[in-house]
């Protein structure tokens, strides 16, 4: 399943294929699975006040200009020009393009200096593309371009699909997280929770195993919530990365927020890496958290 997730086309703002994929995978587990006006996918059972969040989207590109068989583009989400050179870009209809740079200094290249070598007759301004993930595994390691952006989603799906039925939980598959947690803000503006766990990849090198992140760049986890979760996840960490904890604690009516961080190495470089042990321990932690919630009812 993990490799499937990385082959589903879902750049920020164009996650419709991912919504379909997820809805299919978790069919029957929740009372209701639907999209909201913003494009988030929300799976919900019961009226409980606990929410698990992960994002559906990955960074990508958008075509801005086509001329002489070359397609020029802008970045969607934070994307580095040098990293893009020579990459294979996938479009919604499975056609491809290769990123080219004709200059002499790749480390100084800007996105506007690059272009796609592709079949431009099929493309138009506003088409979105993603870097082909090239997901592969060896031993304990998983590799892919952009592995980190959907690793939270992969862990959540890995966990959810182990349940036949879940009561008393809301799962937010959020849209446009790479563009500034927009889906989260839209959703929390209209839905109130007491506790939220966000599941994300963390690039912070000091976090060496799957961890409960209790403080990120802009947010801190409430001490009571931390104590509760520590019974399940005993590896505690803090990070300077932005895992949206601040935004989540302050959106809508406010909530307690913690992050489940899955370490990602070589982030934003070719073939990011996640260790399977970290991934599966993350999924196990989530499973236990959900089971505890079920038993509370």
């Amino acid at each position: 399943m993990i490799s499937e997730i990385y082959s589903v086309f879902s750049p920020s703002g164009r996650e419709e294929k991912m919504r379909e994929y997820i809805a299919d995978k978790i069919s029957g587990i929740f009372d209701k699975v639907e999209s909201d006006n913003f494009g988030n996918l929300v799976a919900r059972s019961g009226n409980g006040d606990f929410c698990i969040e992960c994002s559906m989207d990955s960074c990508g590109i958008m075509i801005v200009h086509i001329e002489d068989g070359k397609a020029y583009f802008a970045g969607v989400g934070g994307i580095n020009a040098e990293y893009l050179i020579g990459k294979k870009i996938l479009f919604c209809d499975n056609s491809i393009g290769i990123v080219r740079y004709d200059g002499k200094t790749p480390n100084e290249a800007k996105v506007s200096d690059l272009y796609l070598e592709c079949d431009s007759s099929n493309l138009k301004i506003g088409d979105f593309g993603v870097v082909k993930s090239g997901y592969c595994e060896t031993g304990d390691k998983m590799f892919a371009n952009g592995l980190g952006s959907k690793i939270g989603l992969a862990a959540v799906l890995e966990t959810l699909t182990k349940f036949e039925k879940i009561d008393n939980l809301c799962v937010l598959f959020s849209s446009q997280k790479r563009l500034g947690a927009r889906g989260i803000q839209a959703f929390l503006g209209a839905n109130e929770f007491d506790k939220i766990i966000t599941v994300e990849g963390v690039a912070d090198k000091s976090i060496k195993a799957c961890a409960l992140v209790v403080a990120d760049r802009n947010g801190v986890c409430n001490t009571d919530f931390k104590d509760e979760l520590e019974k399940v996840i005993d590896n505690i960490a803090v990070t300077d990365d932005d895992l949206c904890m601040g935004n989540i604690t302050a959106s809508g009516k406010g909530a307690k927020c913690a992050a489940l961080g899955i370490p990602v190495s070589h982030k934003d470089k070719n073939f990011e890496c996640v260790k399977k042990t970290d991934f599966f321990s993350g999924a196990d932690y989530l499973k236990e958290v959900i089971e505890n919630l079920q038993n509370k009812r």
Binding site: G75, S112, R182, A186, A190
Partner: protein, 339 residues
């Protein structure tokens, strides 16, 4: 009306003069008009039909300008820009300070060295000169915290119009025209404040409406000048209003964009797409309000935006208005079902 609007004074945080002009005009044909606590002007026009869809149109009243930060002993004003202004466009410009004229410049070129001429000036090195003899005289005219705007007259030339504040008096003018007529939708028109300092008024003004669709009417960058690479031009003057797909603040809702395209094609109105992901407007705060609103932006291309000599094409302006009008008419016919 566009002339009156662009020549009026309305910097982010002090939009009252513009709001008053709009209010005086709109009250001639609308009754449901409200100001909120931020100064947003919200107008509602009920549909002429039963069970209508709800549409929100939004344009901001504020323009980029300057705010006085200090008065020097010799009677010059130090200032900061409100909203994004490139300091280069400020040099040798005239401004309007509380009704009086002032000039911004630096020392004469004859008094500069070659080194100095190469450097870019930052705004903290610039000052406004109103001809005051000293601090006392200057303070009678304006104090720190008072606002200034560019001194730029509305001028028609060729097929184009030059004015300050086309961003976004264009949107305001179009909305006023639209409010004159009746529509088969429940129409909400928000004239918002403080867009230029962070899309702030729209965040408040769009709450509690829950429209089926929201369209932001704006002025946007146009860089279609000789010497600019084709992929950096963003929009083209004369090619019609531009629909934004993705910018730094929001992603245009596909369903709504498709409806706009459909109406444009059906009624033969030219349009283009904004070929860039840069910039941002009120759609950014509207689209995440109240659980999410389907929002898109329709903009008139403006050369030299955020400068005293903003330039747009008359037919782009007309076509933008026409496109909104046929969109509203079509909404009434097709409802909110997409085919």
């Amino acid at each position: 009306m566009l002339k009156k609007l662009t020549e009026s004074f309305g910097v982010s945080g002090y939009e009252m003069p513009v709001a008053d002009i709009i209010y005086e005009e709109v009250k001639k044909f609308c009754t449901d008009i409200k100001f909120d606590n931020m100064g947003n002007l919200k107008v509602f026009k009920r549909s002429k039909t039963e069970l209508p869809p709800k549409v929100l149109l939004s344009a901001h009243m504020d323009e980029v300008g300057l705010i006085i930060t200090d008065v020097t002993e010799e009677g010059y004003f130090k200032f900061a820009s409100v909203g994004g202004i490139d300091p280069k466009v400020l040099i040798a410009q005239r401004v309007n300070v509380n009704g009086l004229k002032g000039v911004i410049s630096t020392k004469a070129v004859h008094l500069t060295t070659a080194e100095e001429r190469k450097q870019n000036l930052s705004e903290d090195k610039l000052y406004i000169d109103i001809g005051a003899k000293d601090k006392n005289e200057a303070q009678k005219v304006a104090k720190p915290g008072d606002y200034c705007v560019f001194d730029s007259k509305y001028t028609e030339f060729g097929n184009q119009i030059k004015a300050k504040a086309l961003d976004d008096r264009i949107g305001c003018a179009i909305m006023i025209e639209i409010l004159k007529k009746d529509w088969p939708v429940d129409l909400y028109c928000n004239f918002t404040v403080q867009e230029e300092v962070g899309l702030r008024g729209a965040r408040v003004a769009s709450r509690g409406i829950n429209p089926d669709y929201a369209v932001v009417i704006e002025g946007t960058t146009c860089n279609d000048l000789p010497g600019v690479e084709a992929n950096l031009r963003v929009t083209k003057i004369g090619a019609g209003p531009a629909i934004s797909i993705l910018d730094s603040a929001s992603k245009g809702n596909e369903e709504l964009i498709a409806l706009l395209e459909k109406s444009a094609t059906r009624h033969n109105i030219p349009y283009q797409f904004k070929a860039s992901t840069a910039g941002g407007n009120d759609a950014g705060t509207i689209c995440i309000t109240d659980g999410g609103i389907k929002t898109a932006s329709l903009s008139v291309p403006c050369r030299y935006i955020h400068s005293p000599v903003c330039v747009m094409n008359k037919s782009d302006f007309e076509n933008c208005r026409r496109l909104i009008e046929v969109f509203l008419e079509d909404m009434g016919k097709d409802g909110k079902i997409n085919d």
